[in-house]
């Protein structure tokens, strides 16, 4: 028996497989593309190829595409899944999870392993992965490259919160001949500030803060968030799969 968690987000689809003892035996990710249904089918094929036929295991799906997974036994929201997954990954049942997703950012306060409170951004894409993606595109870079480059920049701020306006702001900075690393700094700074404002609504000093989601491979985001929140924000490579791992745990 194995337990499968599928997290179909707005940008990326993440899958995690656990064995009977709850050990993580496989994780894989792919772009969501334009159809959650097609993505779900692609995931099913990959699972079968890897020898984890969904029919023989238990499947929980989460994320915006959670209802588009016909072979899932249950759907659970990404809030609950991220909390569960992060608790497991960071081996701590009292944490504040900061998840910067493709189209929304969630701050989840976990107490005794359960969601105690959470906040999500509204429809606006400021402070999300999408914001970073759009700005990276404008700078002809990959999002992770932009993040890394931001570390060596400074002294630039993007004042528009709206992604569309911020994009034109970035374009005018390019036109003005601003250094790329400074623009990258401004972009990351904008996201981090927005996320921090959101986090401060529920964050309690003393609680361990962790970062999950697509940006957790970028050290600089953690560094900048730590500075803004005045507490150390840590992450781990698996944290990108927190939602999927949490879903798989909830399938048990």
């Amino acid at each position: 028996m194995y337990y499968i968690g599928i997290d179909i987000g707005s940008t990326g689809a993440k899958t995690a497989v656990l064995d009977e003892a709850g050990r993580i035996i496989d994780t894989f990710a792919q772009p969501t593309g334009w159809s959650s249904v097609d993505t779900a089918e692609a995931i099913r094929k990959t699972l079968v190829e890897k020898g984890f036929s969904p029919e023989e295991g238990k499947v929980v799906s989460t994320g915006y595409g959670r209802v588009a997974v016909p072979f899932s036994d249950k759907t659970v929201t990404e809030i609950t899944c991220h909390a569960k997954g992060a608790t497991r990954i960071f081996d701590d049942s009292d944490i504040c999870v900061i998840d910067i997703g493709g189209q929304d950012t969630k701050i989840i306060l976990v107490e005794d392993g359960f969601v105690k409170d959470f906040v999500m951004n509204d429809k606006c894409s400021a402070g999300t992965g999408r914001f970073l993606e759009v700005m990276a595109n404008t700078l002809a870079m990959r999002p992770d490259e932009l993040c890394t480059l931001a570390k060596s920049g400074g002294n630039t701020s993007i004042s528009s919160l709206c992604t569309v306006f911020a994009e034109s702001e970035v374009i005018s900075l390019i036109g003005r001949g601003e250094k790329k690393e400074n623009i990258a700094f401004g972009v990351v700074d904008s996201i981090v500030k927005k996320v921090a404002i959101q986090a401060k609504r529920i964050y309690r000093p003393g609680v361990r803060a962790v970062l999950t989601g697509g940006l957790c491979e970028c050290d600089y985001i953690c560094e900048a968030l730590s500075k803004e929140l005045k507490t150390e924000v840590t992450t781990l490579p698996e944290a990108r799969f927190a939602g999927a791992i949490g879903a798989a745990l909830l399938a048990m």
Partner: protein, 423 residues
């Protein structure tokens, strides 16, 4: 609703645009309401009213006007219906609960005005709401800055009387509100040509008190462990109460309450055991705004109470029926209406007390504080609401939304996560 085309034409409505609304409403109602199982039979009355929402009541109002009665269109639970009824006038609610009317309002109002105001103004200016065509006079109140200025715009198009609601609740404010009611009585007398007498006002006070008691009976049934009625159905009753004849409204609510009380005795519930119970608090939900109720009740929870103008604020507290002078009656009315806890008051601790009291009375698992986008007073007050609830150990979710469906998925995720959090 095709039988009413002639009436709408006579009212000077924009038939073509109005047709578009008439076409979408039955589908929306079918999806949200008729898909529910085991509804109380008593809901048949409200289903019927909705099916002819722009026909049946408007035609009654027009008949009444032919017999010399005057129709007063109102926007807020602060306007005392009793005074109008005492002068043989009729009070009606007005359109304002659909995105359909919002673009019309945006032609004259700033975009960052709350959707309720934009929809109301749009419904009037675009001539797509029969109630907004029928009323002889409109009664506004300065419960927020957006409305205040919107009334000035409406006043260029319709006869308008604005009541000055105090913004604090000191004894002198209550006195002042009694005086405002007296001034309003003068306007009503002039409009109707009828005198407001002690006897007539006393009769009217009793009529509206009876309506309040009947609405409360239905709400009380929602305190039962086994819920005999869905939140959506209770909301529909409440929304239509603003438009209906008050005597008939009381009669229908009492009939529904009889059935619900029988259901409680028989252990009949419209939700499975263990369904999480939610109290909604915040800005009003004008018909046909069923968005959040629908999301909540299709996500595994039930709405058991609304601490809103379209909810407990409309019927809680009765007016003293023992007064023998007009002065005493105006004072009694002022005292009752000033017990309403609107975010336009400062401070407004009474609302926090109400929410916590209602959360206990209705045995709720969690509270959702929902505010219409750009309603800054409720949004700001959310800080106190959420803090007080957390201190009381009651889980709370704050939501800001409008009439569009564009955030439905995000809301669904939030609401589902909140319900999962309730365990």
């Amino acid at each position: 609703m095709s039988d009413y085309v002639k009436m709408w034409e006579d009212l000077g409505m924009d038939l073509e645009t109005h047709d578009a609304l008439c076409q979408v409403l039955p589908t929306a109602f079918g999806d949200v309401y008729l898909s529910q199982e085991n509804r109380p039979e008593g809901m048949g009355f409200w289903d019927f009213v909705v099916s002819e929402i722009h026909g049946i009541r408007p035609s009654e109002l027009i008949e009444a006007q032919k017999n010399g009665q005057k129709v007063f269109g109102t926007f807020c639970v602060y306007v005392p219906d009793e005074v109008v009824i005492a002068a043989n006038g009729i009070v009606t609610g007005l359109c304002g609960g659909s995105q359909f009317w919002v673009p019309g309002g945006e032609k004259v109002l700033p975009k960052n005005t709350c959707p309720l105001i934009k929809a109301s103004v749009g419904a009037r200016l675009d001539r797509t709401c029969p109630f907004f065509r029928i009323a002889d006079i409109y009664v506004g109140e300065n419960t927020c800055d957006g409305k205040k200025k919107a009334y000035e715009i409406l006043a260029e198009d319709v006869p308008m009387h604005v009541m000055d609601v105090p913004q604090m609740k000191r004894p002198e404010d209550i006195e002042r509100w009694a005086h405002e009611i007296e001034i309003f009585a003068g306007v009503v007398e002039e409009q109707t040509g009828n005198k407001v007498t002690v006897e007539k006002l006393n009769e009217a006070i009793k009529i509206i008190n009876n309506k309040r008691k009947a609405l409360k009976r239905v709400y009380d049934a929602r305190k039962a462990d086994k819920l005999p009625i869905s939140g959506k159905d209770a909301l529909l009753m409440m929304q239509i109460a603003f438009f209906d004849d008050p005597v008939r409204c009381a009669e229908m609510c009492n009939k529904l309450a009889d059935e619900l009380e029988q259901r409680i005795a028989d252990g009949v519930s419209v939700f499975p055991e263990g369904t999480k119970r939610i109290l909604l608090t915040g800005t009003p939900l004008a018909i046909p705004n069923w968005k959040l109720h629908h999301i909540i009740e299709t996500s595994g929870a039930a709405v058991v109470c609304e601490e809103m103008c379209t909810g407990t604020r409309y019927f809680e507290n009765l007016v003293d029926e023992e007064q023998t002078t007009l002065e005493g009656q105006y004072k009694a009315l002022a005292e009752r209406y000033m017990k309403n806890n609107c975010a336009c008051f400062t401070p407004n601790e009474g609302r926090i007390d109400d929410i916590i009291r209602l959360a206990k009375e209705y045995k709720v698992d969690g509270v959702i504080d929902v505010n219409l986008k750009f309603c800054s007073i409720y949004d700001t007050e959310g800080f106190f609401v959420e803090r007080a609830l957390k201190e009381a150990g009651i889980p709370v979710l704050g939501i800001e939304t409008d009439y569009t469906d564009s955030d439905a998925e995000q809301l669904k995720t939030r609401v589902e996560a909140f319900i999962e959090m309730l365990g």
